[in-house]
């Protein structure tokens, strides 16, 4: 704990403990934040970062421990109390109400009595002062992710906070928006407001923070000066072991044979909050990875439904596999043709949480046991049939199970994702399509998963990777396209485009670039 620099301590927490059932989320955590400081909280998924800040904001109650604000002991029993004490929070998944307008959203988070039109005035003033432009009369459901974040920040600023907590704010922003956000945060800090900044991105922390506390498995393992450290040191402290680098085969087997193609695809949105896909063209060759970058909610889900075959195309020739039209085939016909998809949602979409792994294997394998000649065994086609296949998937993919054949819900995120990926790969696909494959999994599992994607392309298969993690896109892809508002950009070779350009495209701006010469 550094009190030596003489600055006043705003918030001091000692021995915070919190557990959910048997799971210990926070264990004896000590942390102190000085006034005007940008304090980063670093840790892997599940390290206990979100739990800790939810305790500070009064959403959760600690099992034990004490919190002092300005040297006064506080029991923060609700967010209202937190706000009264000058604590504001911007949530990772936002705490906004889509069916309400921006002004209504802000009004209900204010504790004082105030009229709606007064709120509108204040929003206009604040958004001018801080360059956070939003239309107070728009419904939140109509806003982009970046705009939603601005609404949350304005909502906090309305209360003149002393401490602003930000939970993974950059995961939904373009690089340009991130620069903008950092400018605002630094300006806030210099005006005396402390910032508790949660992230698992190391460069950001080094760039932004004054001090960083590292959490691991619910414990605080180090508090260090962010200005005097390196990303490498942070990474190794956070993970607790050396991080294995990806094995990249320099000599790739990238071919010029087009494996999978999408032609002039249009799809009207089928519900109000959806995104319409507009004239999408895309092709991927055998032996390469095509990365589709973009901020969540720009049509990735809709694109994935079309690619997987959960929804059919209007015309059969809008999707070509090896030059033959398959646009009207359903998802199981595509599996038989060698196209495998891994959707973004691990539970409730890729798997059924309250079914066993065996049953979840059967979920995408049932048709394989269907072509027997005896009608009686065909009639009695049930999950028993997939027991062997399931065991094989578990073994070859190092899926760690708490018991034999557990429920899908009993697996950790990383292990479940390994199972899902393994289940797809066991089908030996020619074309594999992944959406956000490492979203929310720990670094170890993420590395394994990325390695599998690389290996797949290096063995000559075509891979499409839809991801909002730019780092991941650049690390794995041979070619990159960007999706924004349902429109897919042209496809660039990875060496022809910079992260900044991709960022511009993600934000809907156009860039001047020489068009990639057509590969023939």
């Amino acid at each position: 704990m550094d009190q030596g620099n003489g600055s006043e301590i705003l918030l001091k927490a000692t021995k915070i403990n919190k557990s959910f059932g048997n799971f210990i989320a926070n264990k004896d955590i000590d942390i102190s934040i000085t006034k005007g400081q940008i304090h980063a909280l670093l840790g892997e998924n599940g390290a206990g970062k979100s739990t800790l800040v939810k305790i500070f904001y009064g959403v959760l109650q600690p099992d034990s421990g004490s919190i002092e604000i300005n040297n006064h002991k506080m029991v923060i029993t609700s967010p209202n109390i937190a706000r009264k004490n000058g604590i504001g929070m911007v949530f990772q998944h936002f705490s906004l109400f889509p069916a309400l307008t921006v002004a209504e959203n802000i009004l209900i988070a204010l504790d004082n009595k105030i009229k709606l039109n007064k709120v509108v005035d204040q929003i206009t003033n604040l958004s001018k002062e801080w360059e956070l432009f939003v239309d107070p009369f728009k419904l939140v459901s109509e806003l982009s992710v970046g705009e939603k974040q601005r609404v949350e920040i304005i909502r906090c600023l309305m209360q003149n906070p002393n401490l602003l907590i930000m939970d993974e704010p950059t995961s939904v922003l373009t690089p340009q928006e991130i620069i903008n956000l950092f400018r605002i945060l630094k300006r806030l800090a210099s005006s005396g407001c402390s910032i508790l900044y949660i992230s698992h991105k190391l460069e950001e922390i080094i760039e932004l923070a004054d001090e960083v506390t590292i959490l691991k498995s619910g414990k605080s393992i180090a508090t260090i000066d962010a200005k005097k450290t390196t990303t490498k040191f942070l990474a190794e402290t956070m993970v607790g072991k050396k991080i294995t680098e990806l094995r990249k085969n320099i000599k790739k087997r990238s071919t010029t044979n087009i494996a999978f193609e999408l032609k002039n695809l249009n799809k009207q949105k089928d519900h109000e909050f959806g995104i319409s896909l507009k004239n999408i063209n895309l092709q991927v060759n055998y032996g390469e990875i095509l990365g589709v970058a973009g901020i969540a909610g720009n049509g990735q889900v809709e694109l994935m439904e079309i690619l997987s075959g959960e929804i059919n195309c209007e015309y059969n020739n809008q999707i070509l596999l090896d030059n033959s039209p398959i646009g009207k085939t359903n998802i199981n016909e595509r599996r038989k043709l060698g196209i495998e998809t891994v959707p973004e949602e691990r539970t409730f979409h890729a798997t059924v949480p309250n079914l066993t792994l065996n049953e979840n294997t059967f979920l995408t394998y049932f048709f394989k046991y269907n072509n027997t000649k005896s009608w009686i065994s065909n009639l009695l086609n049930n999950p028993q049939n997939s027991l062997d296949e399931c065991e094989k998937i578990i073994k070859t993919n190092d899926v760690r199970c708490p018991e034999t054949n557990p429920l899908a819900s009993q697996l950790s995120g990383g292990n479940l994702q390994k199972f899902i990926l393994g289940r797809s790969l066991a089908n030996k696909p020619k074309v594999a399509i992944f959406s956000q494959p490492t979203w929310g999994v720990d670094i170890g599992a993420a590395t394994t998963i990325r390695q599998k994607l690389l290996d797949l392309s290096q063995s000559g298969k075509a891979v499409i990777l839809i991801s909002q993690d730019l780092e991941e896109i650049f690390e794995l892809s041979d070619k990159i396209a960007v999706i924004n508002q349902g429109v897919l950009s042209q496809i660039f070779r990875v060496n022809d485009i910079t992260a900044a350009d991709v960022g511009l495209l993600m934000g809907g701006k156009s860039i001047k670039k020489k068009k990639m010469e057509t590969v023939k």
């Binding site: 889509p98 519900h271 109000e272």
Partner: protein
């Protein structure tokens, strides 16, 4: 003609009240399928109380309290014990049918005095118009007042916005610091109160004696009315009047000896409900922002 319109209005008031109450509950994210049961309890509560105290106004209070009692049973299970709302609502209606049958048994064959009409000074003397709008009973005025209040409450008051927020995304409402469960309790009980008064209106004005299951599906029609109104309060008035009209039309038809069997005429309100739901559902599935997003989903608290 005038008498006909008055009967239509009287028939639509129970629907109007029950649907308004349910609208508030649904706006907070609670789907209470027990409206039929709450109305029955309101009816039997009102009947018993009026027989005992011999003042129809106490019947309104008793109806409201009975409805609220039923709503609190529903709230305990769905909100606190997080049970499935559809099944619990069904259970509530089944439970209330049994309970009111038991409680109503001693009341069979007894008749209660009707709720008096209140004439509003001068206004009620306007020809035709006056007696329709300004010569109604207390509950009729009350139900219009409730609709107007609800419209403004939901749109302009902070509490109303909070209520909608809870129905829109309960997790966010919790994160912002609102007591989701408590707000839902209030909304459900308000719904129960309205349904109870609506149920009480049936013996107080329409048929002044008890018979088992005397609400005859009005609670279910009220549920359909909320969908029909796309969760917009004033549209409930339109819907309730249409259904009142259909109900009366079939009664008139039976009285005047239309050449259609009476049973087929009696089916009309139910068939009309199905048609209305069908017409509105096609539009709703495209424009789903009017349906409260958290509707029917239990809130587990945060972790």
């Amino acid at each position: 003609m005038e008498a006909l319109i008055l009967t239509i209005i009287a028939t639509s008031i129970p629907l109007l009240l029950a649907a308004t109450g349910e609208l508030i509950a649904e706006k907070s994210g609670v789907l209470n399928l027990g409206v039929e049961g709450m109305m029955l309890s309101g009816a039997v509560g009102a009947l018993g109380t009026v027989l005992w105290l011999e003042n129809p106004y106490y019947g309104i209070v008793a109806g409201a309290l009975s409805g609220m009692l039923m709503a609190s049973i529903f709230s305990i299970f769905t909100i606190n014990f997080m049970t499935n709302q559809v099944a619990t609502g069904l259970g509530l209606t089944i439970f209330a049918t049994g309970l009111t049958g038991l409680a109503g048994a001693p009341l069979v064959g007894k008749t209660i005095p009707s709720l008096p009409k209140i004439e509003i000074f001068l206004l009620s003397d306007i020809p035709i118009f006056g007696s329709i709008l300004f010569k109604q009973d207390f509950v009729a005025y009350l139900s219009i007042a409730i609709i107007i209040f609800i419209s403004f409450f939901l749109k302009y008051s902070k509490s109303g916005i909070i209520l909608r927020a809870v129905g829109d995304d309960h997790q966010s409402a919790h994160s912002v610091g609102y007591p989701v469960k408590k707000i839902r309790w209030y909304a459900t009980c308000f719904g129960g109160m309205c349904a109870g008064i609506g149920g009480a209106y049936i013996p107080l004005v329409l048929t002044p004696h008890w018979s088992e299951g005397m609400t005859a599906g009005r609670g279910w029609i009220a549920l359909a009315l909320v969908v029909f109104a796309s969760w917009i309060p004033w549209r409930i008035i339109v819907g309730a009047l249409i259904f009142g009209g259909i109900t009366i039309a079939q009664l008139v038809g039976q009285a005047r000896g239309w050449p259609i069997p009476s049973q087929l005429l009696s089916m009309m309100p139910y068939i009309a409900t199905i048609i209305a739901l069908t017409m509105i559902s096609g539009r709703l599935s495209k424009n789903n922002s009017v349906v409260p997003s958290s509707l029917g989903r239990p809130f587990f608290g945060s972790q």
